[in-house]
Symmetry: C2
DNA sequence: CAAGTTATGTTATATTATAACATAACATTT
DNA sequence: AAATGTTATGTTATAATATAACATAACTTG
C-alpha cells in the first residue's frame, strides 16, 4: 500500500481540505497523462468543483456552478465530465442518492465504500479490507467476475447520535 | 428448491418460481398482519407483479402492468406501494439501476447483497455473513449506527463468462 | 496539412420520482 | 350505526436525474 495513502481500515478517507485541492488536481493530471487520457480544462474544472464540496454533490448543482463561471454548460457537459472522471477513478457516484464525490486516493483501484449519515449528510469513504475480501470471496463462490462493487451504508454518524441538535 | 430459508452464505436467494408466488404472497400477508400493517389489494398486486418478474423490474414497467389489469394507476400508485413493500422488507430497491426485486426471504431483517450481471441482467441476492460482519465492524470503528446497508456488485455472471453468445 | 479521432456545444427528450390536494376506505370510540 | 380520526388511494402536475442525437471544434497522428 502506497506511502502517500495509508487507508488501512481504520483511517477514513475524507475529501481533502481546500488547500489540498490543487495537489489533487495535479495528481489527477499526472494520472491521466500516464494513461494517455486527456485531462481537459472542462474536466479539470468539474473535478475542482466536486473537490470543493466537502460532501457529495448533485450533477445539477455542479451544472449551476459551471454556469456561474461564465462557461456555456448543459446537462451533457457535466455528465460527460463526470463519466470521464469516474472512469479514471477520480470521482465516485453514490447511487443511493444520485450524488458525486471526489475520491481522495485515486492512486489505486478500489471499491467504493461509503457511510452516509442521513441526518447531516456527512459521507465518509473508507477502506476496509475485510469487506473487500468478503465480497471477492463471495464472487468466487458464485463464479462471478466483479467489475465494480458499490457499498453504501446509510445511518447516523457519530456526531448526530449524541442528541446534537445544531447540525 | 426452497423449503423454508437456508441462506447460509453459500446459498443464493433467487426469486421464487411462479408456483411459489402464491406462497410468498401468503407469507407477506401474515407478516403484515403480525405487524398491524395493511396488506391491501393494491400492495398485494404490486408484490405479485414484482414476484412474477424473475429479474429486477423498473417502476414504470410495473405501472404499465398495473394499467393492463384495468385498474387506474399513476406513478404515485406504484411508488407508494413499492415504498410500503420496501418498508416491510418484501421488496428491495437496486439503487445502481433504479429497479426493484422481490425479497425471497422476508422473514428476517437483512442487508441487501446483490450480484448483478451487466451482460444478461441476471441478479442474485445472497447472504454473506462475512460481508455483513465486516460492514458492522467498520460501523463500530466509525461509531456509526447502521440503518440500511446496500451492497451492489456488478460484473459478469457465470453463464456470461463462457463466451456464451446466445443469452 | 489532411484525415481520423476525441471532446464539446446545443437542443430536445427520456426516465425516474415526488408534491399537493381531493376522495375513499378503514378503524375506533361512542 | 354514526361520528371522528387515520391511513390509503386517485389524480394532476411537476421536479429531479440522465441520455439521445447531431453539429462543431479541438486535438492527434501520419
Amino acid at each position: 500500500m502506497s506511502e502517500s495513502c495509508r487507508h488501512n481500515g481504520r483511517t477514513s478517507c475524507t475529501v481533502p481540505s481546500s488547500e489540498q485541492v490543487q495537489d489533487l488536481l495535479l495528481q489527477a493530471e499526472k494520472l491521466c497523462a500516464g494513461r494517455q487520457q486527456r485531462f481537459t480544462e472542462l474536466r479539470r474544472k468539474v473535478l475542482e468543483l466536486v473537490c470543493q464540496y466537502k460532501q457529495p454533490v448533485g450533477a445539477y448543482d455542479l451544472l449551476d456552478d459551471l454556469k456561474q463561471t461564465g462557461r456555456s454548460a448543459a446537462p451533457p457537459t457535466v455528465y460527460r465530465a463526470l463519466d470521464f472522471l469516474q472512469s479514471q477513478g477520480l470521482v465516485h457516484r453514490l447511487a443511493t442518492n444520485n450524488t458525486y464525490i471526489a475520491c481522495a486516493h485515486p492512486q489505486h483501484e478500489h471499491t467504493g465504500l461509503f457511510f452516509v449519515c442521513h441526518r447531516c449528510g456527512f459521507t465518509q469513504e473508507v477502506h476496509t479490507d475485510e469487506i473487500v475480501q468478503a465480497v471477492r470471496q463471495q464472487a468466487v463462490t458464485l463464479d462471478f467476475t466483479v467489475e465494480k462493487a458499490a457499498v453504501e451504508v446509510s445511518g447516523t454518524c457519530h456526531d448526530c447520535q449524541s442528541g446534537n441538535d445544531d447540525v
